[in-house]
């Protein structure tokens, strides 16, 4: 990332995540996977799967100055398939909605790889576990674009990744690109790619606030 060993690293350019989401019913998942395999890179290899456990921590405080509840969410993700891989600590900002010229959701995105004592660290910093889930699925990539077809499972007991229950009967399809801020043209590429998947799955930008309000 940075070429020089500089101390002031927080001045690095923030990354943005461009996102399109959709869903497919379980039965149609195979067809979609096949199509994605043809469209994306590395068509000759088998599907690459992932099996992750994600925890979402929240830090809430009411500061005397602002007089209302502020909260920030950090997401911790680690792979259940590769236990030696580093853990990921991610922050995703609020998506800017309302801009009709934008085809995708855009939000700030910070991803940090960490050692495996992240959970205790966050707890000590004051974060509290909000919720957690297990996500299993396949991922594809085409150039910079990453497509994941995944199923979310609810954990019936905390800290037990074996006891799972699927959250719905469908798969969540997400098309994401992580790029430095300011690269708006990537959204057109994403839209074109989404067009190619059109009859199988409708990828569009979804306003999350409307869902949370429901």
């Amino acid at each position: 990332m940075e070429g020089s060993v500089s101390i002031h690293r927080h001045t690095a350019a923030p990354f943005h995540e461009y996102l399109l989401q959709g869903s497919v019913v379980d039965n149609s998942c195979d067809v979609l996977l096949n199509r994605l395999r043809g469209l994306c890179d590395n068509a000759e290899n088998d599907y690459e799967s992932f099996h992750d456990h994600e925890l979402v921590f929240a830090l809430r405080s009411s500061t005397a100055q602002n007089n209302h509840n502020q909260q920030v969410y950090f997401r911790v993700r680690h792979s259940l398939k590769a236990p030696n891989a580093p853990w990921h600590l991610r922050y995703v900002g609020q998506a800017e909605v309302g801009d009709k010229t934008r085809h995708t959701l855009v939000r700030t995105y910070v991803d940090v790889s960490t050692s495996d004592n992240v959970v205790t660290f966050l707890n000590e910093m004051g974060f509290r576990l909000d919720y957690e889930y297990v996500i299993k699925g396949y991922f594809f990539h085409k150039g910079r674009m990453k497509v994941t077809v995944s199923k979310i499972f609810r954990m019936l007991q905390p800290n037990n990744v074996e006891n799972l229950e699927p959250l719905s009967l469908s798969y969540l399809v997400e098309l994401t690109v992580v790029a430095p801020a300011g690269q708006e043209l990537i959204q057109d590429d994403m839209k074109n790619f989404a067009e190619q998947l059109k009859p199988l799955v409708q990828l569009e930008k979804i306003d999350h606030r409307r869902i949370t309000m429901m």
Partner: protein
Amino acid sequence: MGVVCVFPYIIPEGKSGLQVVDCLQKQVELLGAVKAGTFCVDCETYQSNFSNTTTPQRLVHILHNSEQPATCFAIVDTGNCLVADSQFDILMQRLKGFYQQRKGFKIESKGQRYEYGDFLIKIGSVLLASSFKGILLEVEYYPCAYLGDCWNLMKELIQSVMGNVLETPPAFLKQKFNSEYGPSDTIQQYLEHFNGFRKAASANQAR
């Protein structure tokens, strides 16, 4: 990654820091070491400002070491050390509402690196808010990963260069004698010393 021992060098009365650093450098070069660039270890502290009194004040120290340029170390005052990407700094910025950077607490140790066989010797001058506070020496022995095995080796080297400075290993290292050594241990040693320097400085200021 080998075993690292960080220890302060007491400046004798009457001499300036620069003179002592020069003198040490000459001694090391006399031993046969070869200059190999510079190094820098720095530390910033963030303080939590939770208004509710149930959660106590927390201090988070963010350290960087030029030996591991892509890493950022985060230590909470309970001792837990997180080793993360250098993007962790950006994450700390996101927590602006909760953790504020303490001004005037930025401390760093900068200086020359010397390589001698399988050893790495660093002579660093400690700067707290750009004012010289002391000298921190670091000696690393690469081939071994267990402190218990090579403590005597290192002591011999240090004493041959600097005289009788370390008779007993520092308290922190005593715990680490029989476990495998890692970069976070180095950083914690540095933090200990930095805290010592900060305390001394604030004590001086109080006077």
